[in-house]
């Protein structure tokens, strides 16, 4: 009995150390186990296709027959392809044009941020464009621009100006589509800013008012800094929206007239997948360029998010 007791005294006071490999690594492995289905899907459906399509861009392939390795020839051809540069230029127009949604959305949000009867209804009406499908907006805008009986024609007529066929003018067409794209995007930015405005700190505003701030000073120094999270989200969403602009172009012009309103995404679709597109290799080369352009931006966004998380920790 005594001997047994003394033996027990020597026994460690903390729990018995785990002996199996599983129990030793359990804490570290379990999160990965839970993540693994999602990770597997992500690898299979997102990561792998990226490398696959980069690989295809080194081939001359019609999507059906045998593929022929041609090295960097597709990229060399891109360098001498005027259509590619037109598309790239249009992407830049989209990029900067779409950013107009931010000030427009902010302006609308400030105008609608009032306490009065029926303002909720007004807010939801202004948000309406974002709820309508892009395809419908594209259609409505192409009627608006219709050079034989569109609203624009009549408005210009009242102003005593000559009619303009926006969608068949190579210099105007991209701007015309961007305006149509801005219509829902502005509504979206407006909603983001409206929620931001709801969370303004009244004490700060009050204090600023006591200090004599009003108008632009108030907006620039007091309101805007507090809206920074909303602005960040709005910028991210808007820029992504501008880079994936496709549906509007497809509905309103199909890239025309003679390809002057194509963007990279649409040009890629046309080369690889459309009715006349049998150039998988060339299409994926365009996609790769688009991917690299987006990558720069995505890395920047991730970096910002990472920084913010570090700050809030």
């Amino acid at each position: 009995m005594n001997r047994l007791e003394s033996f027990a005294d020597h026994a460690p006071t903390h729990p018995v150390p785990a002996t199996t490999w599983w129990s030793r690594h359990q804490m570290r492995l379990v999160p990965w186990l839970f993540l693994s289905p999602a990770l597997a899907m992500f690898l299979l459906y997102v990561i792998a296709p990226i490398f696959q399509s980069i690989a295809i861009s080194f081939y001359d392939w019609d999507g059906l027959g045998a593929a022929k390795y041609i090295g960097l020839d597709n990229y060399r051809e891109l360098l001498h392809d005027p259509d590619f540069f037109t598309a790239l230029k249009n992407n830049v127009i989209w990029f900067f044009g779409f950013l107009l949604a931010l000030p427009l959305g902010l302006g609308l949000a400030l105008a609608l941020n009032q306490q009065m009867f029926g303002i909720r209804l007004a807010k939801s009406l202004f948000f309406f464009p974002f709820v309508i499908s892009q395809v419908v907006i594209g259609l409505v805008f192409s009627w608006f621009y219709d050079p034989s009986n569109g609203l624009l024609l009549h408005v210009l007529g009242w102003l005593g100006m000559d009619p303009v066929a926006v969608l068949s003018d190579e210099n105007l067409v991209t701007y015309g589509i961007v305006v149509a794209g801005l219509y829902p995007q502005t509504a979206y930015c407006m909603i983001l800013y409206l929620t931001g405005l709801n969370n303004l700190r009244p004490d700060l505003i009050e204090a600023a008012r006591l200090e004599g701030a009003k108008g632009w000073t108030m907006l620039y120094h007091i309101v805007l800094p507090q809206l920074r999270p909303a602005t960040f989200i709005a910028v991210v969403v808007t820029i992504i929206g501008s880079l994936r602009s496709f549906d509007m172009i497809s509905i309103m012009t199909q890239g025309g007239p003679y390809g002057q309103s194509r963007v990279l995404a649409y040009y890629m679709y046309e080369q690889a997948l459309s009715e006349y597109g049998y150039r998988m290799g060339y299409g994926t080369a365009i996609a790769t360029v688009l991917f690299l352009l987006m990558l720069v931006y995505i890395v920047y966004v991730l970096f910002r998010v990472y920084q913010q998380e570090k700050e809030s920790d």
Partner: protein
């Protein structure tokens, strides 16, 4: 836990076995994929299938109908993966990518056995690649100039037979504030019809085929000659203003209202023209006028076809179906519903005024083109039609456009 896992595995195995079994069950049937989704083509296909099933009660036909645009991309997937027993497509160079990739079955034996080389003679050339036949044509339709008889009569213009007549007619129309030609080039293919006709009338069918198969540079003097003629229409603004903003249907109102007097189109435009209120005494049809004197006249007549995919499971019944579809009485019935022309020369002539005119024109035609975007390979066609549209909007850019097309030609046909 382990037990349950095993149980699940067994379930999955059973399920896949079932799937395989059902896959086998299909092989007794005949599966057809088609884009005949518009009312008339759908009705025509239904009639065709019903007739075939009645004549061959042992075969059960299953039709998968796709929408037009979706079909053009999904055909590439289903031909390589889960192939049906029959699929519809188009003649000429349009089927070349599938033929060259070995995705279509050679059906020369059906042609030989059923005597189709004789009865479908007008379409034989456009169904042949590498000396073999790759499908069976079931319908085609004519292209030509539809014009407003009433406007022509009012302005005392006779039906133009030559290029000079046509230009004179255009000038008279324009002077009376009527646009000579309606056209909508938002979808650029409509410009291909103009190029086809001008080239076939200026240089002839052989040259046009040489050009669309890449043997002649686009900077050639003979191509320039085509554009010289085209200049006579584009420079005085004889086409509908802002045509790049309209689809071909959206250009119809101008024609129906009498703002435009002529429309170079396929016969499918007659139905909407009539629906919009045009009567037969208002709507005339004429062959595209002669340009180079004495040159035999070729016409555009795009042909729709049915093919057996190389990976089809039930090729025996598929060939029976093709043989049935090639019969004159079957083609007569189908095209009666389609409002188009039967390819089989023993089929009954149509009653419709415009079809009758088309039938007579095509049976006397020197040769038949399939249309620019079917005769030229896809990539060339796309660049070409974009170029033609640009030319029609900015005739002054002609030189740059043709140089660009030549650049594309050198790459496409290497």
């Amino acid at each position: 836990m382990k037990q349950k896992h095993k149980h699940n595995l067994r379930k999955i195995a059973l399920l896949s076995a079932l799937l395989v079994a059902s896959g086998w069950a299909i092989s007794g049937d005949l599966v057809i994929n088609t884009d005949a989704s518009d009312p008339a083509p759908k009705a025509a296909f239904d009639a065709l299938v019903k007739g075939f099933e009645k004549a061959n009660p042992d075969v059960h036909v299953k039709v998968n109908t796709f929408d037009h645009e979706g079909y053009k991309t999904s055909i590439r997937n289903f031909l390589t993966a889960e192939a049906p027993d029959l699929a519809n497509w188009y003649a000429g160079n349009r089927m070349a990518p599938f033929v060259n990739a070995g995705l279509f079955e050679d059906v020369s034996d059906v042609w030989a056995k059923e005597g189709l080389n004789e009865s479908l003679k007008s379409a034989a050339a456009s169904m042949t690649i590498n000396g073999k036949k790759w499908g069976i044509p079931y319908t085609y339709y004519q292209w030509g100039v539809y014009y407003r008889k009433d406007i022509f009569a009012k302005l005392k213009i006779a039906e133009p037979k030559t290029w000079d007549d046509l230009i004179k007619a255009c000038a008279t129309l324009k002077a009376n504030k009527v646009t000579p030609f309606a056209i909508g080039t938002k979808a650029t293919w409509t410009t291909g019809g103009w190029f086809d006709y001008l080239d076939m009338r200026v240089n002839g069918y052989e040259f046009h085929m040489d050009l669309t198969s890449g043997k002649v540079p686009y900077t050639d003097a003979r191509v320039q000659a085509v554009f010289d003629k085209w200049d006579q229409l584009t420079k005085p603004n004889y086409y509908l203003a802002n045509h790049a903003s309209y689809q071909w249907q959206e250009a119809l109102p101008a024609f129906v209202k009498g703002d435009a007097a002529m429309y170079l189109m396929g016969n499918f435009a007659v139905a909407p023209m009539k629906e919009a209120g045009l009567k037969e005494d208002q709507l005339g049809f004429m062959q595209f006028p002669e340009i180079t004197k004495g040159l035999p006249k070729a016409e555009d007549a795009p042909t729709d076809t049915l093919h057996i995919p190389a990976k089809a499971k039930n090729k025996v019944d598929a060939k029976r179906f093709l043989a049935y579809m090639a019969k004159p009485e079957v083609q007569t019935e189908m095209n009666g519903i389609l409002g188009q022309l039967p390819v089989n020369k023993n089929a009954t002539r149509p009653e419709d005024t415009y079809l009758k005119a088309g039938f007579n024109m095509l049976s006397n035609a020197y040769a038949l083109g399939q249309f620019y975007d079917r005769d030229a390979p896809a990539e060339m066609a796309k660049a070409g039609m974009d170029g033609f549209q640009q030319y029609m909007l900015k005739p002054a850019d002609r030189k740059a456009i043709l140089e660009r097309l030549e650049q594309v030609r050198q790459r496409v046909y290497k």
